[in-house]
Chain length 132, copies 2
């Protein structure tokens, strides 16, 4: 009943390849991993971390940004402030992105309702919807 997981087991659980996990470690998204006779051994908690990484990626964060998310900014007088403004900025980006997706969804709804074979067949009307 040891709660130690091999890299393969973690990969299986999270539906990742081991190489991706090693890559995240090399990018310092994961803390340096404990080893047993050379092999990485993980605690279950690494799965939570990997889940956050996945979520952040799907939300459009780059590896570098996720590193910031986890490791924060260098400590210093204004560290908290910079952290806050990073989050605020990302929040803003995400909000904008959600709106863009809504726009595209509307366009797709339109396309699905009319039964044109393609976008050009719909002509100016679809474009108008897409552009505003």
């Amino acid at each position: 009943m040891s709660d130690e997981l091999s890299i393969g087991e973690v990969a299986r659980r999270m539906d990742l390849k081991p190489s991706a996990i090693r890559f995240y470690e090399s990018e310092r998204l994961l803390d340096p991993t404990a080893r047993r006779s050379g092999r990485r051994v993980y605690e279950e908690s690494v799965c939570d971390r990997l889940a956050v990484i996945r979520l952040a990626q799907r939300a459009g964060f780059s590896i570098a940004e996720i590193r910031t998310l986890f490791r924060g900014f260098p400590r210093g007088a204004t560290a908290a402030t910079r952290w806050q403004s990073f989050v605020a900025e990302k929040r803003c980006e995400l909000t904008k992105k959600v709106e863009e997706l809504r726009g595209m969804l509307e366009l797709l709804d339109f396309l699905q309702d009319c039964s044109c074979p393609d976008l050009d067949a719909c002509g100016a009307e679809a474009r108008k919807r897409a552009c505003c």
Copy 2:
């Protein structure tokens, strides 16, 4: 008052580089362009097309998918059906993506409210929010 635009002018208006426009043409997202003494001349309408391309890209469509969007599937008995199911599938993907973005937004809201220096400082609570 000619409504003919050079590639540079289109690029300037749409905030793109000329190379991107040539690339889209080579990928058949734009119809083969009229030439005058070797140079591409565009009508204003190309800007609409480029706007749709940008929107679709931001919504996560690949170049290949956008080509499908514009050019449709090969004509044939089931063309309309395949088109419909392509749009339906993409619609579904987009809806899912919007939900993911919402999840990340919630996480960021949480992070912004608590004033931790980083995600790990927030610990299990933030992760819990991120993972469900």
